[in-house]
């Protein structure tokens, strides 16, 4: 059994699936339901879907897409994007998602995590934290809803999210997103050494050795990847794929 969760993290924009580089230039990579169907065949233990327009534009949830994902997805999945009230979270759970990720709204109202965790259980609430280095090379929390970093240390924010009752942290490096150059191990290490809840490393995975480094060196509990699972080869041809589970088991053991 693969003890470390290796999670495809898929980005939604309108009805389609996209992939970004450093949170910019979303490239269309296909239909989300088609991707789910391919992952159904590959012994994927968990999926994350993030709607990258929902929090920026404040647009309403794409309920039809979530419902379609839920009924085609033969594995648990987490949905994030534009969740800023309990009713919305309740709707997402009732459509069949197992977890909800909360990002920008937790920056404005950290106690929303507490409210959601009390109602739905910590296990169902993922605090998503995006991090970018500022001009001085310091890690700062990046707020997608504003498209800018804010003056908040990600480690401090991660601790606050844990205290509010988040069940896990999805930690994404904006600078590494889509680059496939490897995770920001220093960032992951800082956060994993400061909190007790599981940290999912995200941003930069380009090969299986990157997973190993995030888990063994930086102590991530789980690893997420986007490009690695939607592109193939150096020309980044779109091809939904998932590594051989037995090989990952061997590497991550």
């Amino acid at each position: 059994m693969l003890q470390t969760r290796v999670i495809p993290c898929l980005l939604l924009q309108n009805q389609g699936l996209v992939k970004t580089v450093r949170f910019k230039n979303p490239t269309y990579v296909g239909d989300p339901i088609n991707a789910v169907k391919i992952f159904n065949d590959k012994e994927v233990d968990e999926l994350i879907f993030l709607d990258i327009t929902a929090s920026r534009t404040g647009q309403l949830l794409n309920l039809d897409v979530i419902r379609a994902i839920a009924s085609q997805c033969f594995m648990p999945f987490c949905y994030g994007g534009g969740v800023r009230d309990i009713e919305t979270a309740r709707q997402i759970f009732s459509l069949g998602a197992e977890k909800v990720a909360i990002n920008s709204f937790a920056l404005q109202q950290p106690q929303f995590i507490r409210e959601a965790a009390d109602l739905f259980g910590s296990q169902s609430i993922v605090a998503a934290i995006d991090v970018k280095k500022n001009l001085f090379g310091s890690y700062r929390v990046y707020d997608s809803s504003r498209g800018a970093t804010i003056d908040l240390d990600p480690v401090r924010h991660a601790i606050a999210m844990e205290q509010q009752g988040a069940g896990e942290i999805l930690l994404t490096s904006v600078d590494r997103d889509g680059t496939q150059q490897g995770y920001d191990l220093e960032l992951i290490r800082r956060v994993t050494s400061a909190v007790g809840i599981p940290v999912i490393a995200s941003g930069g995975a380009g090969n299986l050795q990157h997973f190993v480094a995030a888990v063994k060196e930086a102590k991530a509990s789980a690893v997420a990847a986007g490009s690695l699972f939607v592109f193939y080869g150096k020309h980044r041809a779109v091809l939904i794929n998932y590594p051989d589970v037995a090989e990952m088991e061997r590497l991550l053991a």
Binding site: M1, E43, R67, A70, S71, C73, F74, M75, G96, Q123
Partner: protein, 204 residues
């Protein structure tokens, strides 16, 4: 034809789609006539115990299911709350269950040394078959996805088919004759869930 009983407790789309994916003829229905024509039944369920029993009662399904499952011996698979409803009751509620199994659901409680374990138990877990059953036939190293705060305690150990462990071993699957139940979600457990549902369709 397998009929997935629609009584308003949770999204049943993924169960139906997984059955379609493995080529099993199935439909979701709340129509007593469709239920009566079923070869086999699936009782799904996400939510609170009393709410589940109340909805079954209001739809007239308690009487109907007794006819179909007890009198006519149609195979039925309860999933998650659907398994807990097979018993006599639950700490979660006041209403009696279907009462087909001498079993009741209890909330997870841990000794102080294990208090870091969260409730609900949520995530993938290995499942160990403790009795021979067609339901688990040919599933190698089974593991399944669980989300639950209550677990079934069986008065009759012979009903226990499989166990998983969360702080202590608990009942993960039951069988008494044509009545089957699983605490986990096969519809969220990819290839393991597909094998189990295929077994239910073809071997049970």
């Amino acid at each position: 034809m397998i009929v997935i009983i629609d009584y308003g407790m949770g999204n049943v789309g993924s169960i139906q789609n997984m059955l379609a994916w493995i080529g099993v003829d199935a439909c979701v229905s709340a129509d007593p006539e469709v239920l009566s024509r079923a070869d086999k039944l699936i009782l799904p369920g996400v939510g609170a115990f009393d709410n589940g029993m109340r909805r079954l009662k209001e739809a007239g399904f308690v009487t109907l299911l007794n006819e179909l499952v007890i009198d006519q011996q149609k195979p039925l698979l309860g999933i998650c709350l659907g398994m807990q409803l097979l018993g006599t009751g639950s700490e979660e509620g006041l209403l009696p269950g279907l009462g087909w199994l001498d079993a009741a659901s209890h909330r997870f409680r841990f000794e102080t040394s294990l208090l870091t374990l969260k409730v609900p138990h949520m995530g993938w877990n290995s499942v160990e078959a403790v009795a021979q059953s067609p339901l688990f036939a040919a599933i190698d190293a089974p593991r399944f996805y669980f989300v639950h705060s209550y677990h079934l305690v069986c008065g009759c150990k012979a009903d226990v088919l499989a166990q998983a462990s969360y702080g202590f071993p608990f009942v993960a699957a039951v069988q008494r004759e044509n009545i089957f139940g699983v605490q986990f979600h096969p519809e969220k457990s990819h290839k393991f869930g597909m094998s189990l549902l295929r077994n239910f369709a073809e071997r049970c």
